[in-house]
């Protein structure tokens, strides 16, 4: 931000001059709005990159999952490193499955319930990581215009008081104060518009990711349920033969 200092070649109405002649409250508002803008852009960039990574990871995982590879092998390769997204769901479900069979649990219905619940929890955890900081964008988008407006109102108030003191209604006296005050609204809008657009885009992206994870969870749950049924049928048959 040091560059700002060098660039003020123009007359009285350059951005820097406008900022410098603003009152304390207006300056505070402007700085806050600038920070909000920087942070919301940071969130937008970060989330866009993260969602892209996540989508690619989902594709890769689905490819390996449906490639006919043994689930045991997949579980072993995934559980070593900390998995995210669909991998986390898969690992959570497989862990529950393995635990149940290692202890020799008999009831397939309760096992099915436990696996679903484990996957729900894993998904909730994943979705929280996906959706965090989107709320900041939403609140910047809705409140930044108001904050800017507040700065403008305060700036115009003080500039009108100054005008009353100067006892001149010349537009050249009135204009700089109002321009300076309007800069606060401009900054509010500058912060709010990308935040609103980014929030809408990112939340729809997040909803798509969560739908994909839910789909996977349902499919995997179906697969496990089929396995349980097959095992139960295989277990009953020897019993019936006895």
């Amino acid at each position: 931000m040091e560059q700002i200092g060098l660039a003020a070649p123009g007359g009285e109405l350059s951005l820097w001059a406008l900022f410098m002649q603003a009152g304390f409250v207006v300056k505070l508002v402007m700085i806050g709005l600038l920070a909000a803008s920087i942070w919301s852009w940071a969130v937008i960039i970060d989330k866009t990159l993260a969602y892209g990574r996540m989508r690619r990871a989902f594709n890769r995982f689905e490819d390996t999952f449906w490639s006919g590879q043994s689930l045991e092998e997949l579980y072993r390769s995934l559980s070593d490193r900390k998995p995210t997204g669909m991998g986390a769901l898969f690992v959570a479900a497989m862990r529950e499955w393995k635990k149940s069979f290692e202890r020799g649990a008999k009831s397939p219905i309760s096992l099915q319930n436990r696996i679903d619940r484990a996957m729900d929890v894993a998904m909730a955890r994943e979705m929280e990581a996906v959706e965090n900081r989107l709320g900041f964008l939403a609140s910047v988008g809705s409140s930044a215009p108001f904050i800017g407006l507040f700065g403008t109102v305060v700036g115009i108030m003080t500039s009108f008081q100054a005008i009353a003191g100067s006892e001149s209604t010349n537009l050249a006296v009135v204009a700089p104060g109002i321009a300076e005050a309007l800069l606060a609204t401009a900054l509010g809008l500058v912060a709010a518009i990308p935040a609103v657009i980014g929030y809408n885009k990112l939340s729809s992206d997040a909803a798509r990711l969560s739908a994909r994870m839910e789909d996977f969870a349902d499919e995997f749950s179906a697969i496990l349920s089929r396995q349980l049924d097959e095992r139960a049928a295989a277990g009953q048959r020897p019993q019936a033969a006895e």
Binding site: M1, Q3, I4, A7, A8, P9, G10, G11, L13, S14, L15, W16, L34, S37, I38, W39, S40, W41, A42, V43, I44, I45, D46, K47, L49
Partner: protein, 350 residues
């Protein structure tokens, strides 16, 4: 998150720098010179009551005054000043005696008198001049003849009376003139009639110079000596000539507002008979006023409405209000000494 933050920060820094450089000083608006539209409020009286003015007067000078009767300048006045009667100004205490250099014309008695018998010679010399007239027609050159100084000659002719005076006189001056004469004749080739004209002109020039009247002499001196007026005298106004109309347009007429004032004064006293149709009640009444604004004599109905009650009410209105006297500008008495008032209730109760 760090990647996003750094990228965002850099983005903002770049944007702000660009904004500082390019949006720093917006071009100020090109304000075009708006020509101010001069608006002047002109009252009606300014158009209807224009005073005569001078065309070459200063435009920002005072407005033309209402003409006053100016007594004619006293022709025989001797003293300089502003007073009506010619009188020597008494010295006031504030005024110190000023030495005034008066450029008086020489009194005739002081003029040099040539000897009676001698001056005749130049006269004789000038007479035979037409002799050397050549036949060649060339441009007339009457100017060289002027150094003759005919004044003393003329005086001598007029006052032929020989006055034995001081022996010291201008005789030697006039004597050389004929001596120089013989050199010039070839140049004097004008026709005789033109020479006669010059002679006549010379006579005309010479005639008024003879100061026969001492008072006229003083008048000339008074004109020449433009000293501060110290009272007395007959030159009246010092006001500059000012702009005005070509001629006076009725400075003595009533303006519209003054007519309205008179109408309002009469209206206050008029109560037309109530039960009648308003359209029938148009009455014209003529009456005379004296200088104090009182009604002089009995108002006469010049145009009756056909209704006796209405006529009488109008006449009564004029008389009632006239008891106190109408308030009208006394300097315009000529305009309102004879008034005709039209009573029209349809206009009155609007």
């Amino acid at each position: 998150m760090r990647v996003g933050l750094v990228t965002s920060g850099l983005l903002h820094a770049v944007l702000l720098t660009w904004g500082m450089l390019s949006l720093s000083a917006p071009e100020s608006f090109d304000v075009q010179d708006v020509e101010a539209l001069p608006v002047e409020l002109v009252s009606l009286a300014e158009l209807t009551q224009v005073q005569k003015g001078a065309e070459d007067a200063r435009k920002d000078g005072p407005s033309a005054p209402v003409p006053t009767e100016k007594p004619p300048v006293d022709k025989d006045a001797v003293n300089v000043g502003d007073k009506e009667r010619d009188q020597a100004a008494p010295e006031t205490e504030t005024q110190k005696p000023v030495e005034v250099e008066q450029t008086l014309l020489p009194k005739p008695s002081e003029a040099p008198r040539p000897e009676p018998d001698r001056p005749l010679e130049p006269v004789l010399d000038t007479q035979p001049e037409p002799k050397p007239e050549p036949t060649t027609e060339m441009a007339a050159l009457p100017e060289p003849r002027q150094p003759v100084e005919p004044d003393p000659v003329k005086e001598v002719i007029e006052t032929a009376e020989p006055l034995p005076e001081e022996p010291q006189s201008r005789i030697p001056d006039s004597v050389p003139v004929p001596a120089e004469r013989p050199e010039r004749p070839p140049a004097q080739t004008a026709r005789t009639d033109s020479r006669q004209e010059t002679r006549e002109r010379e006579q005309a020039q010479a005639a008024p110079r003879a100061p026969d009247n001492p008072s006229k002499e003083d008048e000339v001196a008074a004109l020449l000596n433009q000293e501060q007026a110290s009272g007395g005298g007959a030159q009246r106004t010092r006001q500059e000539a000012s702009f005005g109309g070509r001629q006076n347009t009725g400075g003595s007429e009533l303006t519209q507002s003054e007519m309205d004032a008179l109408r309002a004064q009469i209206q206050a006293c008029w109560s037309p008979p109530a039960a009648l149709d308003a359209g029938d009640l148009k009455v014209s009444i003529r009456f005379k006023l004296d200088r104090s604004g009182m009604v002089d004599g009995r108002p006469t109905v010049t145009k009756t409405s056909g209704n006796r009650a209405a006529d009488e009410s109008a006449r009564r209105a004029i008389l009632i209000c006239g008891q106190r006297g109408y308030k009208l500008p006394p300097e315009k008495y000529d305009a309102w000494q004879d008034v005709v008032v039209n009573f029209d209730p349809s206009v009155m109760f609007r």
